[in-house]
């Protein structure tokens, strides 16, 4: 597990929830390896923000993408080579703001990918502005009088958009989070984990989440129960909120075809081109 670490200097603030996410992910990968999943088949990507630094801290292949686009990046990698397990790390600003169109469509088309959102309710890296998940009244440098918008609810959004695996984790509960991550990676379809992540510098939510969360207790196969769980505001359920089976996008689109593996040599291409031209 330790060799999943890299030599990159860690620049997260001491106490940041991102450490819990990093540790949970390493555990999840170790767990998958013990089940025979080769880590070389993992392809990771990240947006831009504090969350995204995880890309440098994991000894795994992939592309350190741009703000909000990691969701598209991993879908492209998956379509190129469906044998990859693709994972996107995003921030709440990243995923629900800049990249929200990709998020909705990834869920809608059931792209086989894992979306891990480091949901700290703030733009960390750009010093504390409100995000789509910040509470009404949140004061940041762009909303000095407090945000006048109500927050988005990520779980409801994803359920409605068609995600086939929806979960909520908490960076303070590493073991449970690692378990959710492993399940999400193994899920054949769009798997979404909203990770409650305290930002000790701009939005310290440790107390709130330590006291205000509880294990999800409904049947995750029941969509109505999942919607009800997602709507809860008194205490936030943690765990798998919804899970269902549906053919993944790459399978629908490609069938057995693997564009990288099945890429034709030049001669085969020229033959096919000649055939197509002879018909035009």
């Amino acid at each position: 597990m330790s060799e999943l670490s890299t030599k990159a200097e860690n620049t997260w603030c001491p106490g940041c929830g991102n450490f819990g996410i990093l540790n949970a992910f390493k555990r999840a990968v170790a767990g998958l390896e013990s089940e025979g999943v080769d880590r070389g088949r993992l392809y990771i990507s990240a947006g831009i923000g504090c969350h995204a630094k995880i890309f440098d801290y994991l000894a795994l292949s992939g592309l350190y993408s741009i703000h909000g686009r990691e969701i598209a990046t991993v879908q492209g990698a998956k379509l190129a080579n469906p044998n990859l397990y693709v994972v996107a790390f995003g921030g709440d600003g990243d995923v629900f703001g800049e990249g929200v169109s990709h998020l909705l469509f990834a869920a809608k088309r059931n792209a086989d990918m894992t979306m891990i959102v480091h949901d700290n309710g703030v733009y960390g890296l750009t010093t504390g502005q409100y995000t789509p998940t910040s509470r009404r009244g949140f004061k940041g440098p762009s909303t000095p009088a407090g945000s006048v918008e109500d927050p988005l609810d990520p779980l409801t959004l994803m359920l409605v958009a068609g995600a086939t695996f929806v979960a909520r984790g908490y960076s303070g509960k590493v073991e449970q989070l690692a378990d959710l991550m492993a399940k999400a990676i193994k899920h054949r379809g769009f798997a979404f984990i909203d990770v409650l992540q305290p930002c000790v510098t701009f939005n310290d939510t440790y107390k709130k989440y330590n006291a205000g969360t509880e294990p999800a207790a409904h049947d995750p196969a029941d969509f109505a129960a999942a919607m009800a769980a997602a709507a809860r505001r008194d205490r936030l359920p943690l765990g798998v909120v919804y899970e269902t089976d549906k053919t993944a996008f790459d399978r629908e689109l490609l069938g057995e075809h693997n564009p990288v593996r099945d890429s034709l040599p030049q001669a085969g291409r020229l033959e096919r081109i000649a055939r197509v031209i002879s018909r035009s």
Binding site: F55, D56, S61, R69, G76, P259
Partner: protein
């Protein structure tokens, strides 16, 4: 009359099957072994308005439609009004007999006879083929065969309708024109089809695009033939999704291409820079229409030249090239995909509606295409951004036991983020050296086309080359036509020899972007710039006159 250019122009409302009528005529001429150039002029709407197609054909090479028609078929009054002045000296106008037209024109019961059929608007397009058949001396049964072959549906109505119109047309039109057969039958291809096929020839594995005229038909073509060609076509949520998916695909080892027009391309800029920084091989097709903004969606323009050359923020190498013919579109797309992979940087194939959507009889030498083998990684520890002397680092893709990290941030050789000053200089130098290696490599390639070697020098590029060549043919003008195929890096080493000459530039831009580029990069100061920027391609008749006046 025979052995010269024959032009059919047919006009009507959108929904009258005008485009299809042009395609049927083009196929007929091609089957006669003649050369064909088919241009569709249509506004951005689905019903109503005014569409026309111009199909010019000759026994020898032809690289433009003509705007003076020999046979003009007007399916409605608006077409009569718009095109009555577009008749050649020997030309004849055929029109719906409900429309008012000058004496000497031939009224036919086009709309009256159409009324008895299920779609009385769509079927009127069939009248074009019927009138053409009568005018060039085809028999009624040959016409019926043509209709059966050309229309996939509704022939139980199309054929009787065509026969009726043919019989009505025969007394007036019979044998008006005689078209000789040419030497051999050639396939008809649009520029976009050639681009799609060229990409496949060059190694395309997966194509991403969001619909935008005039690039959409690349998507439609590849989607329809994905299985036949062994490739995948994907239509994601928007152009930002398009290019970022393509980049993701390339980093997983698939040769990817995207295509759009100006607006969609503008959305791709941020990721274009990502490809520059992360050194991701990517081919982008930019098919231009007049802007700015939505502009004239279905017309042609070369107003995106500067946009293409300056795509993306930050400094990084890129290749931009523009094909001057359908055949070249095939070759060049394959070559650019290869260059993108050899030099791990984005490449742009710049083209225009006029080449993208015009259909011509093309003789593709399908086997004569570039095939690049990118630098593979040696066994042992892998560094994605190995600081090689050429600036080109070896490629490796997951799944792999080695870690392959691509990065949008400035990074070290391993692909790990770093803001270290010395490393930043080193990596910027690496990318610059890669650009120099690319420019050196271009010197070994064919980068400039020259047609003719006498007379004044005319410089042009892209689809305007087609217009210039036909104008010279039409006007019997002798000239040396110089067409840089590559625009970035601009092959100044080939072009500078024209610096002292009396140069005429022809381009479809209002500000003369191409002339400015020649001046800036090759020291060529054109004596004059002939421009057209109303969205319509140059007409050979008009351009020949302008070139003669310039002499």
């Amino acid at each position: 009359m025979a052995d010269e250019v024959f032009t059919l122009i047919a006009g009507g409302k959108a929904g009258y099957g005008i485009r299809k009528a042009g395609t049927v005529a083009a196929a007929l001429f091609a089957r006669m072994g003649r050369h064909v150039f088919q241009m569709d002029d249509y506004p951005s709407l689905i019903r109503g308005g005014h569409n026309f197609c111009a199909v010019s054909t000759a026994p020898g090479p032809i690289t433009s439609h003509y705007t003076k028609a020999d046979l003009l078929v007007c399916l409605d009054q608006r077409s009569v009004d718009a095109h009555a002045s577009h008749l050649s000296e020997r030309g004849v106008m055929v029109h719906d007999d409900k429309a008012k037209a000058d004496e000497g024109s031939v009224g036919l019961p086009i709309s009256a006879e159409a009324k008895q059929y299920a779609d009385p608007e769509l079927i009127t397009g069939v009248a074009v083929a019927a009138a053409l058949a009568a005018a060039i001396g085809m028999s009624e049964s040959e016409l019926a065969g043509l209709i059966e072959q050309s229309y996939s549906r509704g022939n139980e109505e199309n054929v009787p309708y065509a026969r009726t119109i043919y019989k009505a047309a025969l007394p007036a039109l019979k044998g008006w024109f005689r078209l000789n057969r040419g030497e051999k039958e050639r396939p008809l291809l649009s520029g976009n089809e050639a681009i799609a096929l060229g990409a496949v020839a060059g190694g395309l594995d997966i194509f991403f695009a969001y619909p935008m005229t005039p690039a959409s038909s690349i998507l439609h073509f590849l989607a329809a033939r994905a299985e036949d060609l062994g490739v995948v076509a994907v239509h994601p949520e928007n152009e930002i999704g398009v290019i970022n998916m393509a980049i993701g695909a390339a980093t997983a080892g698939a040769r990817a291409m995207v295509a759009s027009s100006g607006g969609g391309f503008a959305l791709m800029q941020e990721a274009f820079s990502l490809a520059g920084m992360a050194e991701v091989p990517l081919l982008c097709v930019l098919s231009s229409r007049p802007g700015p903004s939505t502009g004239l969606p279905t017309y042609t323009s070369q107003g995106d030249l500067s946009f293409a050359l300056n795509q993306g923020h930050g400094e990084f190498p890129r290749v931009v090239a523009s094909p001057g013919s359908v055949e070249e579109a095939y070759r060049l797309t394959a070559e650019l995909l290869g260059l993108a992979w050899e030099f791990q940087t984005p490449a742009i194939l710049l083209t225009e509606k006029h080449l993208s959507e015009s259909r011509v009889t093309a003789e593709l030498e399908t086997g004569k295409v570039a095939w690049a083998e990118p630098v593979p990684a040696a066994p042992g520890p892998y560094r994605r951004y190995l600081d090689a002397p050429t600036g080109v680092s070896p490629l490796l893709f997951p799944p792999s036991s080695e870690i392959v990290k691509w990065n949008s941030y400035e990074h070290d050789e391993n692909g790990t983020t770093t803001e270290d000053a010395g490393n930043s200089t080193r990596m910027a130098d690496k990318r610059r050296r890669k650009g120099e290696s690319l420019a050196d490599h271009l010197r070994t390639l064919h980068t400039v086309n020259a047609f003719g070697d006498k007379g004044p020098v005319i410089m042009t590029y892209g689809s305007t080359t087609l217009s210039v060549l036909e104008a010279l043919r039409h006007g019997g003008i002798e000239a040396t036509v110089v067409q840089p195929v590559f625009l970035e890096p601009l092959p100044w080493w080939e072009l500078s020899r024209y610096a002292g000459r009396n140069v005429t530039v022809v381009e479809q831009s209002s500000t003369g972007m191409f002339a400015s580029l020649l001046k800036e990069k090759a020291g060529i100061v054109p004596a004059r710039v002939i421009k057209r920027y109303d969205g319509r391609p140059f007409a050979p008749e008009e351009l020949a006159a302008a070139l003669k006046a310039a002499e």
